[in-house]
């Protein structure tokens, strides 16, 4: 169960090797003794490192093999994650961000973005929603992005997938009202992670730990939408309302 101050006992990380998901799990593990974490990720060194890091903080970690594109296996994966005990928080943290110029010109790359970031997110969202409804409680955290707020020239393939998954999870939050379950959509700006390694910092760039703190706080306060950093909300609102002729000329 999640306690009165929003600290969970069992967290499911989908895309468990994501830097942001790992940082969130570390933050919860520091405040919940004996936190249980189920890491759903591809087997390999990245997952092993995530397990070791969380166990060092006293968390009890289980792993599940997870492939975002294997949508047929997702309902069974969610069922197995909750077989032993309720999932208090599920973090949908997987995603790909390829070379953007390649992404809109290379068919395989574009389809992979869409499959992982959008289809995969919807595919886990449905069984997660079913799970938290049955439990009568539970929080789904969806890691969206400010890139979904308005398609920009520089990253519109990634942006379009995040726009789709963002809309799905915002809608899911509305659908789950009154069920005891809750959805938190997190919209970070540029986060310095292995996904963005090698790219120049965008304005208001931030770190996984900052996003993690915002997730912990958003879950505790049952927020619907969390911008990280908070100032991103105003920035993106301005960008969204720019007239198209101006928007087109900006190097965004």
């Amino acid at each position: 169960m999640i306690n009165a101050l929003g600290r969970p006992q069992h967290v499911l990380l989908l895309g468990g090797t994501s830097d942001i998901a790992r940082a969130a799990a570390r933050a919860w593990a520091r405040e919940s003794e004996g936190l249980r974490v189920t890491l759903a990720a591809r087997p390999g060194g990245g997952r092993d490192a995530a397990v070791a890091e969380l166990e060092a903080l006293g968390a009890r970690v289980a792993v599940l093999d997870f492939d975002a594109e294997d949508t047929a296996g997702h309902p069974e994966l969610v069922r197995r994650a909750a077989a032993e005990r309720d999932v208090d928080v599920a973090v949908v943290a997987f995603g790909v961000l390829g070379d953007e110029e390649q992404a809109w010109q290379d068919h395989d790359s574009a389809v992979e973005h869409a499959r992982v970031n959008y289809v995969g997110a919807v595919s886990v969202g449905v069984p997660l929603a079913e799970l938290v409804r049955r439990q009568g409680h539970g929080v789904i955290v969806a890691l969206s992005s400010v890139a979904g707020e308005r398609a920009r020239r520089s990253n519109f393939v990634y942006g379009s997938t995040k726009a789709g998954m963002d809309a799905f999870y915002v809608g899911l939050g509305l659908a789950l009202r009154g069920t005891g379950a809750h959805v938190v959509v997190v919209r970070p700006g540029h986060v310095r992670t292995k996904m963005t390694a090698g790219r120049a910092d965008a304005p208001l760039a931030t770190d996984p730990e900052v996003v993690a703190a915002a997730i912990v706080d958003g879950v505790a306060r049952r927020r619907d939408i969390v911008w990280v950093p908070g100032a991103m909300r105003g920035v993106m609102s301005a960008i969204r309302h720019l007239p198209r002729p101006v928007f087109r000329r900006l190097p965004l």
């Binding site: 169960m1 006992q9 405040e31 003794e33 005891g180």
Partner: protein, 446 residues
């Protein structure tokens, strides 16, 4: 039976979860229990537990049974349905010369809830907890059978049920020995006390001298004012005293004022408002006044005067943190108060009481020593502070009250309740499949 889905919280308004609300009369409680699904069932009273013991996410929650009171005026033995509130019981019994043996700070709790939480009152140091006055109770267990348990008949199950937070079965009826009183008034001695050491000395004396004693502490006061408080002690007034005061002494507590709107904006209860309130509370108390006659409601249940006062905390809600420190580690009390004061977490109406000996209830809270309860608005930095306090309390040999708790970990619970293993064994015997389940049971891995 009828049912509908409801979002439920405790009195603190935190961590809502959805359950199917089941209404049953006394004859079909067993049917409701055997019809419970995989997520089980738990009985709920008036929802005055602060945390999650009367919630059952995804399962069933049984509404209180209709009130029924059968009082033997000669002996003061009352048989009542578990859904009867102490308010109803007091109103029925007081005009006939009987009072509940133990009352918590609110009379809007059910008899079943009072037993399940083994509630204590301002007289614990003298009279023990509520369970000590229960002669027997009727319990519907997981197999759907209804049985009578008492300190003589299946004592093990009886003392697991007293304080057992509803996890051994549904209490349908209880037989309780009431306390004779000559009037409905209490003779009260109120004094303002400037510091903690003086307060503790005065309260230790009150252990011997007073039937009822309680102190309100201003937890925002620091330094030499740490422990600044108002101590009240009381005795039931005699018929002669009541007549001399020109009062019939037959009054019963009134219904509360309904003045709090259903939705209150957050932030109303903050550092400034609490500081102002505490200051006012301290200054309006008399420096030293003896012999004042107060009504039952005024003395025992001052907060019951205003219905739904918990809503004043807004949608974020609040937690009540109630701990007990055994006498041998009473020096930890100022450490706890200092820690709360220095972190600036405001609490209004923090209460300090003496408790008497530990009772036989396997999960009963009281230990001989000091119990402190603080209402704290749910806020960002509260969890780290309370985790520190958990450690202090556990290393002092103390523990936390399940009727108030909404956040401690299973580990903290096990460390504070060494008889939890014995409790789980009773559960293994009478409810091996864990038909009785609550959010608290899941959180504390009971």
């Amino acid at each position: 039976m009828s049912d509908d889905d409801r979002l439920l919280t405790g009195w603190g308004g935190t961590a809502p979860s959805r359950a199917r609300a089941v209404t049953a009369c006394v004859h079909d409680v067993a049917d409701a229990v055997t019809a419970a699904g995989p997520r089980g069932i738990i009985a709920r009273g008036l929802g005055r537990s602060y945390g999650d013991p009367a919630q059952n996410a995804g399962g069933d929650v049984l509404a209180p049974l209709p009130s029924r009171i059968d009082l033997d005026e000669g002996t003061g033995i009352v048989r009542a349905s578990a859904g009867t509130s102490l308010h109803e019981l007091i109103r029925a019994a007081l005009p006939r010369g009987w009072f509940v043996p133990v009352t918590p700070g609110t009379r809007y709790v059910t008899l079943g809830g009072a037993i399940a939480a083994d509630v204590h009152g301002k007289n614990h140091h003298r009279d023990g907890g509520f369970g000590a006055h229960v002669r027997e109770l009727r319990l519907v267990t997981a197999d759907g059978s209804e049985r009578t348990v008492s300190p003589e008949q299946d004592a093990e199950l009886f003392w697991a049920t007293v304080g057992g937070m509803g996890l051994t079965g549904v209490i349908t009826e209880a037989t309780v020995a009431m306390m004779p009183v000559e009037s409905s008034l209490v003779r009260v001695h109120t004094r303002r006390i400037d510091d903690l050491a003086t307060l503790m000395t005065a309260m230790r004396e009150a252990d011997r001298a007073a039937t009822y004693s309680v102190a309100w502490i201003d937890t925002l006061a620091r330094g030499r004012h740490l422990g600044r408080s108002v101590l009240t002690t009381g005795e039931h007034a005699t018929a002669t005293e009541a007549r001399a005061a020109g009062r019939s002494g037959a009054g019963v507590p009134r219904e509360p004022l309904r003045v709090v709107p259903p939705r209150v904006p957050g932030g109303l209860v903050n550092r400034a408002s609490i500081r102002a309130f505490n200051e006012l509370w301290f200054r309006r108390a008399p420096r030293d006044r003896r012999g004042e006659l107060q009504g039952i409601g005024q003395f025992f249940h001052p907060l019951d005067g205003i219905a739904d006062w918990n809503r004043l905390y807004g949608s974020a809600g609040f937690v009540q943190y109630q701990l007990v420190l055994p006498d041998r580690s009473e020096d930890v009390l100022p450490v706890v108060l200092e820690r709360v004061a220095e972190r600036g977490h405001p609490s209004f109406l923090s209460v300090l009481k003496r408790l008497g000996d530990e009772g036989p209830g396997l999960l009963s809270f009281p230990l001989r020593g000091w119990t402190l309860a603080m209402d704290l608005p749910a806020g960002r930095d509260l969890e780290p502070l309370l985790r520190e306090l958990d450690e202090l309390v556990l290393s002092a040999g103390g523990r936390h009250y399940l009727a108030k708790d909404a956040r401690m970990s299973a580990h903290t619970f096990d460390a504070g309740y060494p008889r939890a293993a014995a409790f789980r064994r009773v559960r293994d015997r009478v409810d091996p499949d864990r038909v009785f389940c609550s959010d608290l049971a899941r959180r504390l891995e009971l």
